[in-house]
């Protein structure tokens, strides 16, 4: 019974999430068309104020595993003799710096946004609104020293798909 309830809840959350994303996308289609063409994160695709909002979400939801500046788990030294279970540490990849940029180089902001929204935070994916996920994404761009721009990054597929990650 509980399993059924969980399945139903998960399904409902998923449908709502998709609807939110789709809705947000619809609202920004015009904006995306207005900008036209492909863009890069080097073109200034978020604002400093948005990154500030994203940092607040990052502090609450992400910093435990991805650490202060997005270094991720790799920044924690292996303690020789420590059990492989490494109680207390989560397996979190870097979300800033060379490893992150190498991993996501050439992929779109929409792919990263989708990964974040569908898997993060561990144990509670989808707890943030689409706008909040976009704000966190803006903060990650700031951590990676991608330049700020004049307009917020919108949680819109047709806009995010036009943005390529990479220098």
């Amino acid at each position: 019974m509980r399993d059924c309830w969980n399945w139903a809840t998960a399904t409902a959350v998923g449908i709502i999430g998709i609807a939110l994303l789709a809705g947000a996308g619809g609202r920004t289609t015009v904006a995306a068309q207005a900008t036209g063409g492909k863009r890069s994160v080097m073109d200034g695709v978020y604002t400093a104020e948005q990154a500030r909002r994203g940092r607040e979400h990052y502090r609450k939801r992400c910093v435990l595993c991805h650490l202060d500046n997005g270094q991720g788990h790799a920044a924690v030294p292996v303690i020789p003799g420590e059990s492989l279970e490494r109680e207390g540490d989560a397996e979190a990849p870097a979300v800033a710096g060379e490893p992150f940029q190498k991993k996501w180089n050439g992929r779109t902001a929409w792919e990263l946004f989708g990964t974040m929204a569908s898997t993060m935070p561990v144990g509670g994916p989808g707890v943030l609104t689409p706008q909040e996920y976009a704000d966190v994404l803006a903060y990650l761009f700031e951590l990676n020293k991608f330049p700020v721009g004049a307009r917020d990054l919108a949680p819109a597929r047709d806009q995010l798909e036009t943005i390529t990650i990479g220098r």
């Binding site: 509980r2 969980n6 502090r59 910093v63 435990l64 650490l67 202060d68 924690v76 030294p77 292996v78 303690i79 020789p80 003799g81 420590e82 059990s83 492989l84 109680e87 207390g88 561990v122 144990g123 509670g124 707890v127």
Partner: protein, 627 residues
């Protein structure tokens, strides 16, 4: 004939009959011993000498059979070493000591050969792993200066996280507050706990200084000493491991390495390469009635590994469901069935089963739902350790879920008993002679006893409480033994509960940083325990003799590989897996006295499941009948 002569004749006759009887008995034993000598006769020996430009003690001689992927390790005594029971084949041999190492020498050994080698060591890396460039060592008092907040760390954090955990993770205040929030379960009003550690310090924790004031002192302390500008540090070992070179020179280790999967297969397959670190990961060992050693491999895909130590042959059996639903412990019943419950795995919220593997059919013949009536309400519930009572009923602890499942063999009935301790995290589970089930509670450091007849719980707190206890065991006198890890300046301990008196006695390990994991008695009543390593102190297998309260320390071949479980044979050999090994996962054994090896097979004194008394007993039936 005088009566005296007659009496003498009778005595002689009786003596002769007795002698004949004794000879007959020993003849039987001799036959077995002869067979076992036959097993060893086809093996080889290697001895030799080691020199170095500086004094050394108990250098470790690594003798690697490159054909069978087995390493023997023995210790020098005054520069001399010897080894035996070496499989014929090709070998690479090298010697290491603290700060010293030799070149490797190759040789081929034939059956029955007794070869000799000489080595010269020079300054080098030695037995310890290469230091990490971004980490420095410092004394405990330097890393942990006095001040508000230190008490929280020493009495709270260090109970589970050792003294290296915090200084190895410098971070800013946001991270430290998030870490504190994780332990307080700050997010558990919006989602479920991810593991049994999350929220462990939530609520009214009465055992630790952990109020709001102390938490703020903790934050101030860690930000000051382990803040974003600090460098990761480890605590330097301030005490050499006390080594008895003469005793060590009698000992021999063997490690049978697990074959590394070919690229693209097994743990390296696209499905598992990322989820399981792409490695094999040995956990617990047990013996079957035929002398084989069984291992749980927690890498992905999960496998049972069967090792025949007499040949070195290994056979893998992947768990049902593709080997991804979690595994941890195993036990073997007296019928030879290998039991292995599901743990967390890649579906941590899925239903978990008790699995039973029949080596004869090579099939998983039992797949029993562990909580069919959903007694445990946690969405995540994982099974771990097991015990068998005298009726062959199986008891399984839910490390995530805080309960004990009983599977009655005769009826097939499954009953789940919630553990009485609040927030119980049951780790090791064992059965005593009276069919009481004993559980080490990791959350508190208490021992819980489940009376399987009355279905009642009783909790016992050792003198050192709260403490970090993972495993426990029972000796032939029905005493319960548990291992308590060190905590800050407080040394690790062994605790014995005498069930007749209800009295605990504790013995401090004379090695400050001891982290005794599992405990296991040998047929002579010694207590063997695995001792987890620290960054600059070797992993150990240790012996405690309760009769004269002496200790012996045996450095393991892999310096930094911890071991969760030890099992002792009827001959006193101690089997284990170097679980923490990142590149040489294995099944290992320590022969404390290699001259006493009669077989490489691994046999319990009284057969599976490994109790230090004959099984089955009828005491439960007797007790039930008396009620």
């Amino acid at each position: 004939m005088s009566s005296r002569r007659f009496l003498t004749g009778v005595i002689v006759a009786i003596s002769g009959l007795c002698a004949a009887y004794v000879l007959n008995l020993s003849g039987g034993a001799t036959t077995v011993a002869a067979q076992q000598r036959g097993e060893l006769a086809g093996l080889a020996r290697l001895s030799g000498s080691v020199t170095a430009p500086q004094a050394f003690k108990a250098a470790q001689v690594y003798i690697r059979n490159t054909d069978k992927n087995i390493t023997y390790m023995v210790f020098t005594n005054a520069g001399a070493f010897r080894s035996l029971a070496l499989f014929p084949g090709n070998y690479e041999v090298r010697v290491r000591a603290k700060g010293l190492e030799s070149d490797a020498q190759k040789l081929t050994l034939r059956a029955g050969e007794n070869a000799k080698l000489s080595f010269s060591m020079r300054a080098g890396q030695g037995v310890a792993p290469a230091p990490q460039s971004n980490v420095t060592f410092a004394r405990y008092s330097e890393i942990y200066p006095a001040g508000p907040g230190l008490e929280v760390i020493e009495q709270g954090c260090m109970r589970c996280h050792n003294e290296n955990f915090i200084p190895a993770r410098p971070a800013g205040e946001d991270v430290w507050r998030a870490r504190l929030g994780h332990m307080m379960g700050a997010e558990l009003d919006t989602r479920d706990a991810r593991s049994y550690t999350e929220g462990a310090l939530a609520g009214r924790v009465q055992w630790f200084p952990f109020g709001k004031k102390e938490r703020e002192e903790f934050i101030s302390y860690v930000v000051k000493h382990y803040g974003p500008d600090a460098k990761p540090r480890f605590v330097r070992a301030e005490q050499e491991v006390p080594l008895d070179e003469a005793a060590l020179s009698k000992a021999m280790f063997m490690e049978y390495y697990l074959p590394i999967d070919a690229p693209g297969t097994g743990s390296s397959s696209p499905e598992f390469a990322k989820v399981g670190r792409g490695i094999r990961w040995g956990q617990d060992v047990r013996f079957d009635p035929e002398g084989n050693v069984w291992l749980t491999d927690r890498g992905y895909p999960h496998r049972l590994v069967k090792l025949d130590p007499r040949s070195g042959k290994q056979t893998d059996y992947i768990y049902p469901g593709g080997g991804k639903l979690g595994n941890h412990d195993l036990t073997i019943d007296r019928f030879g069935i290998v039991w292995a419950p599901e743990h967390s795995g890649l579906e941590p919220e899925g239903p978990k089963r008790i699995l039973g593997f029949n080596p004869k059919t090579e099939k998983w013949e039992h797949q029993i739902p562990g909580d069919p009536n959903n007694v445990i309400r946690n969405p995540r519930k994982w099974m771990q350790s097991m015990a068998l009572d005298s009726k062959d009923n199986l008891y399984v602890g839910w490390i995530m879920g805080g309960a004990l499942t009983k599977w009655e063999r005769a009826s097939g009935k499954v009953t789940v008993y919630p553990i009485s301790d609040r927030g119980a995290v049951p780790y090791g589970v064992i059965a005593d002679r009276n069919d009481n089930i004993w559980i080490a509670l990791w959350n508190s450091g208490k021992l819980a006893k489940f009376d399987s007849v009355n279905e009642q719980w009783t909790e016992f707190a050792p003198l050192t409480f709260p403490g970090h206890i993972r495993r426990l065991n029972v000796d032939a006198q029905n005493n319960i033994w548990a291992a308590i890890w060190n905590q800050g300046r407080r040394p690790g301990k062994l605790a014995k509960l005498d069930q007749r008196t209800g009295r605990f006695t504790e013995y401090s390990v004379p090695l400050w940083t001891a982290q005794p994991y599992d405990v296991n008695p040998d047929p002579e009543g010694n207590i063997w325990f695995a001792d987890s390593p620290t960054p600059d102190r070797v992993a150990l297998i240790n012996k405690f003799n309760p009769r004269n309260q002496t200790w012996a320390f045996y450095p393991k071949p892999q310096f930094d590989a911890d071991t969760p479980k030890v099992q002792v044979t009827r001959d006193g050999a101690v089997w284990y897996s170097p679980r923490g090994s990142r590149d040489m996962p294995a099944i290992g054994v320590l022969y404390p006295d290699m001259d006493k090896i009669t077989t490489l097979g691994a046999f319990y004194q009284y057969g599976p499941p490994g109790n230090p008394w004959p099984s089955p007993t009828t005491q439960t039936a007797s007790r039930a009948a008396q009620r």
